[in-house]
Amino acid sequence: MAYLDHAATTPMLDEALEAYVATAREVGNASSLHAAGRRARRRVEESRERVAAVLGARPSEVIFTGGGTESDNLAVKGIFWARRAAHAERVRVVSSAVEHHAVLDAVDWLAGHEGAEVGWLPVDAAGRLDPERLRAELAAHGDRVAVVTAMWANNEVGTVQPVAELAAVAAEHGVPFHTDAIQAVGQVPVDFAASGVAALTVTGHKLGGPTGVGALLLARDVAATPLLHGGGQERDVRSGTLDTAGIVAFAVAVEAAVKGQQEYAARVAALRDDLVERVRQAVPEVVFNGDPTDRLPGNAHFSFPGCEGDALLLLLDAQGIACSTGSACSAGVAQPSHVLLAMGADDDRARSSLRFTLGHTSTRADVDALIAALPAAVERARRAAALRTPR
């Protein structure tokens, strides 16, 4: 199989898997007072220090969670609630049109259920946010804004945002800035303190760690109201028995991904550039989406004019090639990407898109397999799409 869907999830690193299994064999609740509990607590705290060290945070700023969606929800809702509680007039959330659904739907929920107003920041044709638009938004509404949230790098088209500039603009107005860095960590340099953000989401399974464990890096001076109430294990912001094995494996993976980032990015970007070049040769009319330079090293995103992405996916899947069309609704129906629509693509172009994402296990053979299968798949998908004639 040619696995070209690392942005969906990555194979676990051997060292992370081994750390997981070794830790999972040990009994101990990190909140218990006896020796077994202290051992588990030590593993958790060592992991916290490792994550903090490689991501430019203090250990006390690392809140372990059940993954990216929880971290995003905690940041967006939790900071909104805390800020509104402190300043009743701060009911506005500023976000971008290209966020992952974990942020997008959390913001929508606040609008629908908590009376939040939302300022949506547009993106350009490459999917990039303009810090000046944020400046204008905050100049107009800054004293009403509870939180700004904008992703570090886009999960669909791979565009990397000018996060430090955006965070600096938010800081000018004293507004906390959250960034969903799920796709960025291990792919591009990410330093929490240097970036100036108040909160940052990271998750394990996108960088060789386990699914179901992640963290929210939350600056000490930023308050967040909890989503989950209970034992208050994580700074009283997040409750739930700590997943010691998951946290240990997560820390191993984060450390490996961040320490190896430069070498990884160079290798994978070269492979990706080769993929892009050969896809263009095989299908000359293909449209390459996203920012050509400021993008994730493993991401290649295309629109195939005259094709439907879900037909291409089916045909490539049958040839053992795993890729992605973007999101699907709960019934499994492929939806036109909100990211491409926000970038100004029409419905047809949005539906014709396909994402190939390379990662730490990718090889040239994977690219070869894709290029071997692609022309015939495009030809068939075109014939199928031509049946969808307007009536």
Binding site: D310, L314, A331, G332
Partner: protein, 357 residues
């Protein structure tokens, strides 16, 4: 062959897909999303387009070890089946949406897409036989036979269709599903129209067509005997729910004889006035082979699960007409007339047409 199994989430299509796998085909499962907004559809056994059905279909595909996808056919389904259903009622006719779905969606939009994508045929869980001779026959399970709603298919469509269940009874299909570990083995049969989740066809039509009060007239006396809130709510042959203001002069029950959209009138009369001995129909399809040269002696069926009557079917300028050997009650325009040739190996579908009067 590379075949596409249409998987509704029910027991029939799951077993059909399983048999296709066992027959050595390279099978891909596809669930058709027919609701424009599946999230709003109630879950349960009634619909064919609920989230639960999609999940059931996916689980069956998992058990069979075949790839599975969901195809969005909602727009086509709404145009070709739902809108057509409403328009037919508005025109005073009684449509069969399952037949229309087979004609326009499963064996047209889906089949065409499948062929374009490199598949050779579509497999479905319909209870009908389609053997190597290419003839469409009734299922061995007379109670579950679906040849009536497949008779609208053309030769070209049938040539790319596989119905693996025609030689089995429903009970056998369920038993096989259980044996194969398919969780849908005990799932209740769907009886209602899939896009009317609560089963209230009148309410569904009222919502779309609005109230249109009119008169109910007795055919014998010409007298107004009641009122209605929309002629489209009635079907020829209907007895219940007429709510007549006064009993008929002869004191006998009244049935809907005809619906006249132009005057928004529902005409009622005694049972025997429902009887027809000749049926006219348009747009014939000759499933069983070439267009016949002259009149054919056959059996005809005039509605789903309806009685079968010997008849002579003759072609004419408007389509065809059937002279029935014995009169039949409650023949509704918009339904299909399907002609069968009796055969010990399963009655053979010769062709079908849409009843006009």
């Amino acid at each position: 062959m590379r075949v596409l199994a249409a998987m509704s989430g029910g027991v029939d299509s799951a077993v059909a897909a399983a048999r296709a796998v066992e027959a050595g085909h390279d099978v891909t499962g596809v669930h058709l999303a027919l609701a424009r907004n599946p999230q709003t559809y109630r879950t349960g056994a009634r619909g064919c387009c609920t989230l639960e059905d999609s999940r059931d279909a996916r689980r069956a595909a998992d058990v069979l070890g075949i790839p599975f996808y969901v195809w969005d056919m909602a727009d086509r389904f709404h145009e070709d089946v739902v809108d057509d259903f409403v328009a037919e009622y508005a025109a005073g006719r009684t449509p069969n949406p399952c037949l229309r779905c087979n004609e326009k969606i499963k064996f047209a939009a889906v089949l065409d897409r499948a062929v374009a994508l490199g598949f050779d045929a579509v497999v479905t869980g319909h209870h009908a036989r389609l053997g190597p001779d290419g003839l469409l026959r009734r299922s061995v399970d007379a109670a579950k036979d679906q040849s009536y709603v497949l008779a609208v298919l053309t030769r070209a469509q049938l040539d790319r269709s596989i119905f693996p269940l025609g030689d089995s009874t429903k009970a056998e299909v369920r038993a096989e599903a259980a044996r194969r570990g398919l969780a849908v083995a005990d799932k209740p049969d769907s009886h209602d129209i899939c896009f009317i989740a609560d089963g209230d066809t009148r309410g569904f039509l009222s919502q779309r067509l609005g109230e249109a009060p009119g008169e109910v007239v007795d055919a014998l006396t010409g007298a107004v005997v009641g009122s209605h809130t929309g002629a489209y709510q009635y079907t020829v042959g209907q007895r219940r729910g007429l709510h007549l203001d006064r009993p008929a002069p002869d004191g006998r029950p009244r049935y809907v004889l005809s619906i006249t959209p132009k005057t928004n009138t529902v005409t009622v009369g005694p049972a025997e006035a429902l009887e027809v001995a000749e049926v006219r129909a348009a747009r014939p399809v000759w499933t069983g082979g070439a267009r016949p040269d002259g009149p054919i002696e056959c059996e005809v069926q005039l509605r789903a699960h309806g009685d079968v009557v010997p008849a002579t079917v003759s072609l004419d300028a408007d389509g065809l007409h059937a002279d029935l050997r014995r009169p039949v009650r409650g023949v509704a325009a918009g339904q299909a007339i399907v002609a069968y040739r009796p055969d010990p190996a399963g009655d053979v579908v010769l062709g079908s047409a849409t009843i006009t009067g």
